[in-house]
Structures are given as C-alpha cells and as structure tokens.
Point group: C2
Chain length 476, copies 2
C-alpha cells in the first residue's frame, strides 16, 4: 500500500512537472512574441489618434468597428464578422459651464459704510468657474441654464435625514471621495461611483433640481470625469454633472463660509434615437471541441472626453493581440476561440447582452470568457467567477505566471460585458492590471494614448494569450 501510494505520487509529479514544463516553454514563447513582435501598441495609437473618442452611436464608433474587424481578420482567424445590435445615442453637445456666485463674508465688514442693497450686490458678489462635464445619459439644462443654491451630501442616508424641506429646489452636491486607503483602487470605486450612477434618482426624490457629483478619481486635479448615470421612469429626471476633485474641495470649503452660494450650470447634452451598431467577432475553429468556446474581449466604445486609450482601447488591442500571438505561434486550439469587441459597455451594455442572448439561442457552450477592461497597465493576475474547480484551476497555474510578475489569482470578478454568460455556466476571468494610475485617467480627458506604456500593454496581451492557452489545454 505504501509502495503503491508513493508510486502513484511519483507518476503524478512526473506528469505534473512535464506538463508544467511544456506549458512554461509555450508561455515563454507567448511573452517573447508579445514583447518583440507585437503591433498592438501601434494599433492602439491608430485607434486613439486617427479615430479617437467613440461613444456608442457616434461616427467614430462605426470607424472603430471597421478598423478592429480589419485587424482581427488580418490575424488569420477562421472568420471575422459583425454581430448587429442597436445602441443608445447620447451626445454631449457644447462644452458645459458652471459658475458659482457668492457674497464673500469678508467683504461684508469693509462695505458696512454703504448698506444700500444695490451697492451690496454689485460690490460683494464674487464668482468662480468650475470644471464640470455632463454625466452620460443626463438630460440637458433648460435653455440659458439653471441656477440654484447648493446642498453638500456625503452619503445617501443624509438625503433621508435632511428631507424634502432642505433639498427641494436645490442642487445636490455629492462629495464623497474614493477611499485612498484601499490598496486596489477598484475596491474604492464601488462606494464612490454610486453617487454618479444613482445620485440623480435619489436627489430628485426629494425635489432637487440637479446634481453635481465629485469626480470618481483618486487624483486631486482639475479634470472632471464622466460616466454613466441612470434615471427611473417614476422619478423626475434632473440634470447631472461631475465636477473636478479640486473644484469639489474648493466648493466644500466655500459652502462652509458661504452656504447661500448659487450655482449656475448649463448642460447641452441630449439623447437621440437609437442607432444600428455591432459587436465585432473573430473566430478560430477548435480542433476537438469546436462547439465549445473560449472567448476574450474588451469594449469598442469609449467616453467622449478623450481617446479611450486605457478604457478600453487597451483591452481591445490586447484581445486581438492575444489571438494574433496564438496564431503566429502556430497554436491549434482544441476549443473554438473568439475575440469579441463588445459595443456599448459604457452606457448600456447592449453588446454584452446581445452576445449572451445569441449564444443562448444558438446553444453555444461557453467554457470560459475573459475580459480585459481595467486599463493597459502592468498585469498583476486574474480575478475570476466560477465554481470551486475553476478557482482551484486558476490558482494551480500560479507558478506558471510568477515569472511574468503575475501573483494575484484569488480575487472575484468578471467583466461587465461577459457577465451575462455566467448564468449559461461559463467561468469568467478578468485581467487584473496594476490599479494605481487607472482612476487618474478613467472617463476623463486624460485617457489618452500617451498614458499607455508599450511594454505594459504587451505584457497584458501575453497574459491573456497564456490564460487562453491554459484554459484550452485543461478544459473539456
């Protein structure tokens, strides 16, 4: 018994080591290919500089569809095609304006001599312009803008305790910073972003006329960060915008001395009728399980304030590059592989929903879905959603990824675009890049090509290719 036991351990370890060795050799090839022969950085440059912002429904989104179709086709996939869908079409219009005006208390002292109302208004009123941007989906302000007093709110429960009397007719200013003590900045995103997404609904319940939300970023700077916001049919729709963190800090201090400050805002945004659009898909037919799919993807659309370089141009180019690497190394996958460029992640998720809907209708089995939508920074690992076996399997590959500085394999997560595949039994994976710089640029004018590093982008692409390879080799 002891002998047999030891013998079986020996076999196990020999096979284990040999498989790991074959795997580690192939993975080394993947990283070398990515770091020496990749065009993904230059492709991203083209997407950013020659196409640019590509919000759903825009002409640029259409250009991005055509460009990425061309790119994925060039990798030599079995077929490249479009998956039609309709998307919402929100447009920002002219640049937003925001001006605060207030009676500076200091001046009260100096101007006591002349207390005529006219002199008071003329002499003591001060004003300051803010850097704001409309939130995606917001209605515009009435023509000529709107002005109201401001109430600062740090958590939703404050709205309930203040009640309608204190809120009605005012602009609600949500000022809840991201928690700087979270090491992974994504952990601080959820608690802060709720004011952006649900702030207008919750403020309008109490009669607020508009909301101004502190930008969801870890940086203190002058850039407002946009992002999706929601309305519900039962509650009045009110305009919603984001204010830069520097201006938010200034506003908060100002309101302490000047609680009667008045904020004048103008938003020119509106929602137009839905537009025909598409996901872009490249597919390599599997040799053994051709009816089973492993997919990798990012999203094509981006916010309109910059170039969507990290969010998610990087993810799209990494996904295409992962497929190119495997093709270029002559890898013949057992499962069918798909590279999916999802449309409309930012303000609707229609691409992800359409993909999942059709997969279900066609009875396609998705073994694994991988998303890359957390920036093109140096990869640190993968998060996952799945059963215990999926989680254990991912963790068992730790040693294979460690030489490439990937160490994080226990986090929970799957991307927004692939989330609907979970209910169809697919395991979900999400590339985890270094998170420190992500929210500096996220949804702001700073999300430009220059903030992406070539090697970091390539390392992410290689990590995706390595995960696809391991999933393909070890799944049934």
């Amino acid at each position: 018994m002891k002998y047999i036991f030891l013998f079986s351990i020996a076999i196990y370890f020999t096979n284990g080591i040999s498989a790991q060795s074959t795997d580690s050799i192939f993975i080394k090839k993947i990283y070398t290919e990515a770091l020496t022969n990749s065009g993904c950085y230059e492709n991203l440059r083209y997407l950013c500089k020659n196409i640019g912002p590509r919000l759903s429904g825009s002409e640029n989104a259409e250009k991005a569809i055509n460009f990425t179709h061309e790119l994925i086709e060039k990798t030599g996939v079995t077929k490249a095609y479009y998956q039609p869908l309709t998307v919402p079409h929100w447009v920002r219009g002219d640049k937003e304006t925001a001006v605060i005006s207030f009676i500076d208390e200091v001046d009260f002292e100096n101007l006591r001599k002349d207390d005529s109302k006219e002199a008071l208004v003329k002499s003591k009123r001060k004003s300051k312009k803010f850097n704001i941007c409309a939130l995606g989906g917001s209605i515009g302000t009435p023509e000529g803008g709107m002005a109201a007093k401001i109430i600062e709110i740090h958590r939703f429960s404050e709205l309930d305790s203040i009640g309608r009397n204190g809120i009605e007719g005012k602009i609600v200013f949500y000022n809840s910073p991201m928690d700087a003590t979270k090491i992974n900045t994504f952990e601080a995103y959820g608690p802060a972003v709720q004011f952006r997404s649900k702030g207008a609904i919750n403020a309008a319940k109490y009669g607020a006329v508009a909301v101004v939300v502190r930008s969801v970023t870890t940086a203190i700077d002058d850039y407002p960060h946009t992002g999706a916001m929601r309305y519900v049919d039962t509650i009045p729709k009110i305009p919603a915008c984001a204010i830069s963190t520097k201006d938010a800090e200034w506003l908060s201090i100002n309101l302490k001395s000047n609680p009667n400050s008045e904020l004048q805002i103008q938003l020119f945004c509106k929602t137009l009728p839905d537009v025909e659009s598409a996901n872009v898909i490249g597919e390599i037919k599997g040799s053994t399980y051709s009816n089973k799919y492993i997919i990798v993807g990012g999203h094509l659309d981006s916010w309109d304030l910059a170039e969507g370089a990290h969010d998610d141009g990087a993810g799209v180019m990494q996904s295409i590059e992962a497929i190119r690497i495997l093709k270029n190394l002559g890898y013949k996958p057992k499962h069918s592989l798909r590279c999916v460029m999802f449309m409309n992640e930012e303000n609707g998720l229609r691409g992800g929903e359409q993909y999942a809907k059709e997969a279900k209708e066609k009875g396609e089995i998705h073994v694994a879905a991988i998303e890359t939508d957390a920036g093109g920074f140096a990869p640190r690992g993968f998060a996952s959603e799945g059963n215990v076996e999926n989680k254990q399997q991912l963790k068992s590959w730790t040693k294979l990824f460690e030489p490439y500085n990937l160490h994080s394999f226990t986090g929970n997560g799957g991307g927004a675009d692939i989330y609907k595949l979970k209910e169809q039994g697919s395991a979900l994976y999400e590339l985890e890049p270094e998170s420190q710089r992500y929210f500096d640029v996220h949804h702001s004018a700073l999300d430009v090509f220059e903030n992406v590093n070539k090697r970091e982008l390539e390392l992410g692409a290689a990590s995706l290719a390595a995960l696809i390879y391991l999933l393909d080799q070890n799944s049934k």
Copy 2:
C-alpha cells in the same frame, strides 16, 4: 513525545500568529498614514520644479542639500546634519549637435549625366540632424567639432575581430538594444549599459576618435539618455555621446546603404575642479541598540537633462517619508535609524563611499541598509544581499507584504550607495518597484515630476517604513 511535539508546534504558531498580527496591524497603519497624510509627492514637486536638475557640483545640488536637510529636520528626528565630502564637477555646456552627411545612392543614378566632382558633391550630399547628448564624464570635442566615418558595433568582441585597421580614425557607433524579452527591465540594463560605461575605453584602444552609444532604454523614441562613462589613464580619452533609439535605428539602416556616411559631432562638456558638497543625514536615536544602525536612503544628485524625478528624487522623498511615517505613528525604534541622502551616486559614488568610510572609522555597526533608487513606481517587493538568515528573514515576511501587492522577495541586489556597507557586515535591501516604465525616462529629458504617480510614490514610502519596522523589531 507526540503530545509534546504537537504542543510546541501550537506555541510556535500562536506566537507566530500573534506577532504577525501585531505586525500586520502596525503595517496597516503605516500604509494608511502614507496614503492619507503624506507630503512626499508635494515635496518631490518642489524638488523637481523649484530646484530641478542637480548634478554633483552644481548650484542646484547645493539647494537640494539644504531643502532635504530642512525636510528631514521637520520630521522630528533626534538630529539632522551634513556629512561633508568633495564631488566631481562635470558640466555639459551648450546643447550638443550631431549631423550625418552621406551620398545618397539613389541620386547616383539620376546624376550620371554630369559627373564633375563638384556637381556630385553639391547635388548628392544629404544630411540629417541627430538627437544626441554627451555622456557624463566625457571630454568635449575640439573647437568646431569633429567629423569621421562611422563603424557600427554590436558587441565588444567585434572590436577585437575588426582590429585597428577597421576602427582607427572612425567614430564607433555602439548599437546594442536592451533585451525586450526580459520581464524585469533591470535584467536587460547590465548587458546594454556596458557600452555606455566602457565603450570609449574599448574603442579608443583601437584608435577610434569618438563613440556614439545607442541610448539605454526600452523605448523607441527621440530622447537621448545620458549616464556615466569612464576613462582609464593608459588609454586616450575620446568624446562619448548617446543617440536616441529612433536615430540609432535610422543610422543603422543608413549605414547599410551608405557605409561612407560621415558624422559631425560637437560636444561642449568638460570637467571642472572638484567641489565641496555633502550627504544629508537625519537620525533617530534607538532605545535599545543605539550604537546599531538601520539606514534608508536615496541619492540627492540627478542627471542634468531633466528633473531627476524618478532618479532619484522619488527615492529621496520616499526615504524622508518613511521616517516621517514612523515618527508620526509614535514609533520608538530599538535601533538607531538614519535617513541618508547620498550625494554623487550618478557620477562618482563619493557620497556612498564617504558614508561607509566614516561608519568604519567610527566603528558604527550597520544592521541593515535599505536603498530606493529604481524609480517611484508601484512597489513589487525587495531585493537583498546578505547571509542566508537575512534572506530567509525577508522571505518570512511575504505574508505581511502581500496585502500591499508586494510579492518579490528573492532577488539579489542592494543599491550602489550602500554597497560598501556590505563588507562591514550590513545586510542590504533595495526596493523593487514595477520596472516597465523606468528606462523610458531614466537619465533623459523625460524624467520629470509629471511621470510620477502620487499613490505609487506613497506605496513605496510605506513599504520602506514597513521594512524598517520589521528589521528593527527582529534584529539584534
């Protein structure tokens, strides 16, 4: 026996867990303090923007000495002082120029009709300006510059095989890129940087009149990267400069078609007499082992092409911040702690040598020396030099660092400034930040404050404070 055995394991684990728990609580405080209460990013801004480049011997280096003395004093150390030394004083002078001129072969065909020598020279000669910079320590060119044919070299052995006949009177162009397949870019630095440091010596042996070295960077761009080069007394001194990687690639292609191209270079640099300078030291007296030291440091001087933001303004500010954090948390160290701002790391190492010399003379015992000089990027771990126990001890703290995304604890390394302390028995440690972006900026005009991320800088400072704490708690 079995019972006793289990019991002792239980004690071991209980103590282990309790110590780790106390440690992990304190380390959490360190990171929270760094991420919420640090001035190190703003201090770095001042060093970069209000002082700027600070090569040894320059006025700015003097200003940096005074500024950091003030900063470390403000943390509330027991004493802050200067450690005098003399430093070399090399100056760049005016901006360097480099122009290549060549007879374009294509033109030969078109100009056959008029084969007078004058027409040939006038019509077919083309030229292109290059982005170059003198290497630190280089002599200048003769007044009016110098011109010579070029020979491209990829490894030193080529010089030997080509020999004096092929090299004499020529400019040697070293074109050996950093190996892109190394995941840690520092592993690719050594093999590439030897051409910068020893290239002039090795080329002058065979009669070369100057050297042009491909910039040591992983990026392909227009920025030349400087850095120290050496001469020896027995071999003629020839001018040495670096060329941007884009120009290096262009030059290499050009030389294939136009091997007789002539390069005209002008360097205005020179070495002036040595200058009085200093290290800056802040010291906290230890409560138990006051004659034993744990030190942390970076270097004050920086190359003259930019602001020395990552190299090594970041390291200096992180070192000061590590001390500030410990002071601010009320930590009473058992060992004496020193924050050392070394002068002259870049072109002489006189600061490190002076520090080690005085430590030896005074019989100071250095338990541990920590350097941070690999950029202010997100920390990934620590490298070390020391005995087996030191290495094991560092590795035993892995679990304490993992929540802060530090995973690398097995690498060998200690910084250049602290290296001389090794022979006095000190264990050496070096902060290992993410390395992908470092050589993009290193020693070039790109090493500016804007390329440093606030949180990444602070996480590095916290990691240093945590290591100091653990070393202090666990060393005798």
